[in-house]
Symmetry: C2
Subunit: 415 residues, 2 copies
């Protein structure tokens, strides 16, 4: 099945809002064997929307339209769809009842524009919106499926997961399964080389997708087959082979982000962590605390931007800073030890370096960064030589220091 995504809204065209909806939709649909052949963003104008519908339906079997379903004057999608499918707008009692219930729970008064929002195309199958007032709509015409959903990300996601995907699965012949690996410590090109033999021998009904991010890669096996049991076996067998090749590069086989995976390792061992951050400026703590439940293992951080803080709060020695400088093996290690003791945790991790774009010297150019991990048993450190981009350096270093901690766990697990 081929799909085309249409996003509607002036805010997308003037660059006020970045469209993250279509990427999210793509990541949900491609594992179902639906390939996204294109996406288009147009303004809130009837002609532009109609042109986009014409273009999209010539290329795809499934057309997903997001946005333009709100109650204000510039939201034209409902009327345009009614015209496009030559159907009438009729007052939908069900939609209106749902709307009233929802408004009541929000303690919002009913207004005439809400009533107007319940006039919907007669040929639409409604998709309940559990998080908002505008329902989704499903149309079938000329053996093609058209779906219209609100552009508000959380409403779009809820309707897609609760209403659309179960309905789409009925249109897909066979079962769909997938399996995901979170991988770190190996570049994408090297990973592809490692898996070359496996990829060449891949059964036609399975796919292997690489989803690289800064410092880690998500590898996804996807498959569609009429025999669900056989499909599950094939995926299991392939996953087993990949797992063997991955060795210690494998971080997790659950659907978690990298910091969550590290957190889970800490929880499993009943251990706690603190971070001492100079060049990452709090980003490691931020990544960890973005995850709900992180207080179980993350106790705190000292962002030691100034040398005075490295000394006073983390206990880095004045002689160390004078002799080796703030960006050095010795300082990184003393920071990691210091934060572990100050905050009172099992592990301490540290970053110190020149994030750039200025501040480099011939001996320590921009991108020179030291990372360290300390436990009661020992303290290790490593030098990184990254590039000139400040944001990349901060984000990459944050992942690399968490991966260094993971490697320490792996070594400890060895007999």
């Amino acid at each position: 099945m081929k799909a085309f995504i249409i996003t509607i809204g002036d805010e997308l065209l003037i660059g006020q809002v970045t469209d993250t909806n279509s990427g999210w939709i793509a990541r949900k649909l491609t594992p179902l064997g639906i390939s996204i052949v294109g996406k288009i963003s147009v303004s809130d104008e009837a002609e532009a929307i109609t042109n986009a519908l014409d273009f999209a339906q010539a290329k795809a079997d499934l057309i997903i339209i997001t946005g333009g379903l709100g109650p204000t004057k510039d939201d034209l999608t409902v009327q345009v769809l009614a015209d496009y499918f030559k159907t009438e707008l009729v007052f939908n009692e069900n939609a209106f009842d749902n709307l009233k219930k929802r408004l009541h729970s929000y303690e919002v008064e009913l207004s005439p524009s809400h009533r107007a929002q319940s006039y919907l195309p007669e040929s639409a199958i409604l998709l309940d919106n559990s998080l908002g007032t505008a329902p989704g709509m499903w149309f079938e015409q000329n053996e093609k499926i058209f779906i219209a959903i609100p552009g508000v990300p959380r409403e779009m996601k809820a309707i897609l997961e609760e209403g659309i995907i179960p309905k789409l699965l009925k249109h897909i012949e066979g079962s769909v399964l997938y399996h995901t690996f979170l991988i770190a410590g190996i570049p994408e090109s090297q990973l592809a080389e490692k898996l070359e033999g496996i990829e060449e021998a891949l059964p036609v009904f399975l796919t292997l997708a690489y989803l690289p991010q800064l410092g880690n890669i998500r590898l996804r096996i996807g498959g569609i087959h009429e025999d669900k049991h056989l499909l599950a076996q094939a995926i299991d067998s392939l996953a087993g082979k990949i797992r063997k090749k991955l060795g210690t590069y494998l971080v997790s086989e659950q659907d978690v982000n990298f910091a969550q995976a590290i957190g889970k390792l800490l929880v499993d061992q009943g251990k706690t962590l603190a971070t001492a951050e100079s060049c990452t400026g709090g980003n490691v703590a931020h990544l960890l605390t973005l995850n709900s439940g992180s207080s179980a293992y993350f106790k705190g951080s000292v962002v030691a931007y100034a040398n005075e803080v490295k000394k006073a709060t983390l206990g880095v020695k004045s002689e160390t800073l004078a002799k080796h400088g703030a960006v050095s093996k010795q300082t990184a290690e003393e920071m990691a030890i210091g934060v572990r003791k100050t905050i009172g945790t099992d592990y301490g991790i540290a970053t110190t370096g020149i994030a750039g774009p200025t501040g480099g010297t011939p001996e320590k150019p921009v991108g020179t960064i030291w990372i360290a991990v300390s436990s009661k048993e020992k303290t290790i450190s490593k030098k990184l030589q990254l590039g000139n981009n400040r944001l990349t350096n901060i984000e990459f270093t944050s992942v690399l220091v968490l991966n260094m901690l993971r490697k320490v766990f792996l070594i400890q697990k060895e007999p």
Copy 2:
């Protein structure tokens, strides 16, 4: 002038990469009076690219194509453009010389694929790429302009700013000027009400655009007029009226992010800052340190996720935690005072609250957050009642506590 953006690459369709290029381009072009009428993403396939070109040129005078210009087999844009404009690919000596120079500076060996990259459409005007190996291309046909640029964001941005915008300005009749305000502490709807009279009296050659973000708004005056002097005067006069209406909501009239603006205020006063973060988990420190030069005013942070850290490192009293809890006015204020003293800065700011989605109680539901600012003279605090979304709570609180610091500066400035 109407523009259409075409982005090329499978990675955009499968949701592996979020397209931030087209938003960036839109934000650069709309102030020049160029309206973006649509954007489309297609895969690396000749037919898909050709279809997109047909569709785009029917709607716009300027077509900007990004991506597909690299050296690998799946990069088809050059060949497709040559076919589309019925021009030959010819070896371009200039492009090859530039490429060689660039590779030399990267210490990369010349390969046959690099030579192949220098065969370019004969009718193209080349746009120098100061940051990469693939040049941009400019075509004029049937009174329309087609521009092809690499999809790598930093290369795309460099070519657009250095090569394309100066050339486009020659095609735009009249002068283009704009002026931007960074505003915080007022919701968009209230700001729009405040400026209603001004908007109604806006001269036809000026526009006013609202670009809202979490906790702050960018307001941009843009204008096009053949008489540059008159345009500058009109913008100055309008800016003056708006400035008066904004009062203390005005943060900056420079092109800076919110944390940078706060940093600038600190630099101007020769003051330093430290942060004590519980619910924001290091995000305030992260926002500050994303900006190069922040070490001049930002000295460090204590991310006190655990109560033990609040006590041991920040000096929050055990009785305070026992009597009022970690999420309270008293704890927030003691954290702000504590971090100011521990790190030894002029100002300390603090956040403590329930970021969610779990952890709420009937008395302190999710989204209950206290923020505080402390200086040698005094310590103030404020309760926030935000929503259930963890990420939104973290990001919104970070901006609000920085804005609270800004208000303290304003009060101090008063006679």
